[in-house]
Assembly symmetry: C2
């Protein structure tokens, strides 16, 4: 299948792979910014595909996951943590509330603020969704060993939470 003849395509697939191999020698392909973007595009495509049967996407899944935690975050805290605008969180919370997966509770200590918590149905939904996301992560990280995944996780954690702004 491979050849030393200078770049002559046979099928669409091999052509694309040849081109990708050539372009991997460019400066751009060594930039962590670019690699992160490409890894995320691949990862969220996998996750969205496996979450679709549950009526979720990575963003609504993320809100649900934080609602299931015992932290009872406010919408503002969700927005900061997920790097979303507060107005986007409104829409995501609306959607999950309409599905009876989460509930808004007024915070007695600050009545402007609303704590987001999961319902029993929301916790059941999350259990399935978490399995789907685990499977997606397995697909996306198939090239790495368990130890390498742990290493990647710890490096990314330090980048993702470097300044907590």
């Amino acid at each position: 299948m491979s050849t030393t003849v200078p770049a002559r395509r046979t099928t669409a697939d091999s052509g694309a792979n040849e081109a990708a191999a050539r372009l991997q020698d460019t400066c751009l392909a060594t930039e962590i910014e670019f690699l992160t973007a490409r890894a995320r595009a691949i990862g969220s495509a996998h996750a969205n595909r496996l979450l679709a049967p549950l009526g979720l996407k990575v963003r609504s899944y993320s809100v649900l996951a934080l609602a299931v935690s015992d932290q009872a975050p406010s919408q503002r805290e969700l927005a900061d943590f997920l790097r979303l605008d507060p107005s986007q969180v409104v829409a995501l919370v609306d959607e999950l509330e309409k599905r009876k997966a989460i509930a808004r509770r007024p915070d007695p200590r600050d009545r402007r603020s609303k704590s987001i918590t999961a319902t029993a149905a929301g916790r059941r939904l999350y259990a399935k969704a978490k399995d789907a996301v685990s499977e997606a992560e397995g697909e996306a990280l198939g090239a790495l060993s368990d130890e390498e995944r742990d290493l990647l996780r710890s490096l990314l954690t330090r980048v993702a939470f470097a300044q907590l702004d």
Copy 2:
């Protein structure tokens, strides 16, 4: 500044950081998918901010970077490599061509295809843009040593180019 009293906010900043610290204990915060998305959001925000004075964003910068390489990629190859739809590449190439930074050249071996190459002005623009992106990468990866950055780069490369689909 810190206290052992249970979660009582003083300023907006410390409140956000306290919440972020609490939410870092959740399951979601250990998912590589989530960490990758957050790292990318931070990284591209830095890069877009520093590229703005040059009239570029991360996507147009990426097209320019590949045009500057000696690979003379086709638009289809750009789309595959950058994980963009071919119709999006049309708009990006249009924009950079209008600025005289890149040029479309018909491929003599396949007249359907157009090779994308940078002009002299495009190479000068790229030189400045690359500095901006390097600075952005420095800001985003300040928490990591050089060795750790190399390690992160090699792990992400294997994830980003696992199957070359």
